[in-house]
Symmetry: C2
Subunit: 214 residues, 2 copies
DNA sequence: TAGATTGTTAATCGATTAACAATC
DNA sequence: TAGATTGTTAATCGATTAACAATC
């Protein structure tokens, strides 16, 4: 079952709902949750929660609410998080290394996380051959081959801005369909490739706007 | 000069425009830029570029375009990036450390960057007293005092989810007005405090939505 | 002047909210 | 049954685009 044209605004909120449900599943013995409660915890209006979910089916019961585990399961399915996805990370500097450690540890604790960094690349000869959380850092030469051999679908770019577009191009050529980009540059990719920008400087600068001196 | 109620959608694009102008200022000898060009490089329509800028004044010349250095200067002023801002980072794990190194190196290269991590905090006794890029890691006990003494306005939270809300509360009490939050939890803060969420898992999960197996 | 591009208004588009019938 | 909450439609709100007069 696939859905035609769900707006990006809707898709952005789904992982947020899932995060709330995951937290509740761990902490409390809650079995049911209303759009009211879910909305409060996610910072979204109850009407919007219902409307977002309704795009994908009828998951609740009138007068009752949503069965927590069922909704959680459905959200994971909708987000394709019910199957495992292999991820490559390019640029194993301190940020890239930190993200790798975080991801792999999380995956080890809970393999159902289903997003797994399985390959690391860097152009620095000093780094090649060394390991982060048991994953060897490889030279960029073998990028395409490795992506294809391992069935890698997503990539995280943590290289300098000057290299980011070239790396993105090579990833796209190798068949990667989703990129999380930390480099401070707008990547140009075909329409069927999704890019999420994670330029943290942009976020800090945006926050500075609200720092009005009294 | 302050502006009343500029929408968040507009504010989000300003750092993006600034990034484009900064890049051009370094690379080329471009003196003028049209809304067409700026829009192309920022991934925004020309009409929207003009409308966004017009909220803050008249920065261009009809038939000519925008003078690059002037617009850059004005954007920095609008974003409060013409004055220096001190930033605290709480949770010096591998992600926090990476962000600190990146920020401080960038600031050293170019102090006009004006966003500067000047204080680090952690609860781990092992870390306290050690340094990252010449900034000592302090115990959380002195958080409030240090924020006040140093005139810290912004904070970056890179602690575990379980500690994030408490840390946020303490930061708010100490007078911090903007928080960049990497913990996977929705922070509850007063209306006059701005929070930007940087939960990278949320971004990866969102990207997974688009990975439809053929 | 002629050509180009801004600043701005009106039109369109899309997203959110309000409201309520359906129903558990 | 009575009370509660979903799913959905209509109303509202806000953001983007189109268009063009102003003007450099």
């Amino acid at each position: 079952m696939r859905w035609k044209k769900i707006s990006d605004a809707v898709v952005r909120r789904l992982p947020l709902y899932l995060r709330v449900l995951d937290d509740l599943a761990h902490k409390e013995k809650v079995k049911l949750i209303s759009s009211q409660e879910l909305g409060e915890l996610a910072g979204v209006s109850p009407a919007l929660v219902r409307k977002d979910l309704a795009w994908f089916g009828e998951f609740g019961k009138q007068g009752v609410g949503y069965e927590l585990e069922y909704l959680r399961h459905e959200l994971r399915r909708i987000l394709n998080l019910d199957v495992n996805h292999r991820v490559a990370l390019i640029g194993v500097g301190s940020l890239g290394g930190a993200l790798t450690r975080y991801n792999i540890r999380r995956y080890r604790e809970n393999p159902d996380f289903n997003l797994h960094i399985v390959a690391l690349f860097d152009s620095d000869a000093e780094l090649i051959g060394s390991e982060v959380e048991d994953v060897q850092i490889q030279p960029l030469d073998v990028l395409e081959q490795t992506v294809e051999d391992m069935g890698i679908e997503m990539a995280i770019i943590t290289v300098p801005a000057s290299d980011a577009q070239t790396v993105a191009q090579r990833l796209v050529n190798a068949g990667v369909k989703a990129i999380l980009n930390f480099a401070p540059i707008t990547l140009h990719v075909p329409d069927d490739v999704q890019v999420a920008s994670a330029d943290l400087t942009l976020e800090l600068q945006r926050l500075a706007y609200y720092l009005v001196e009294e």
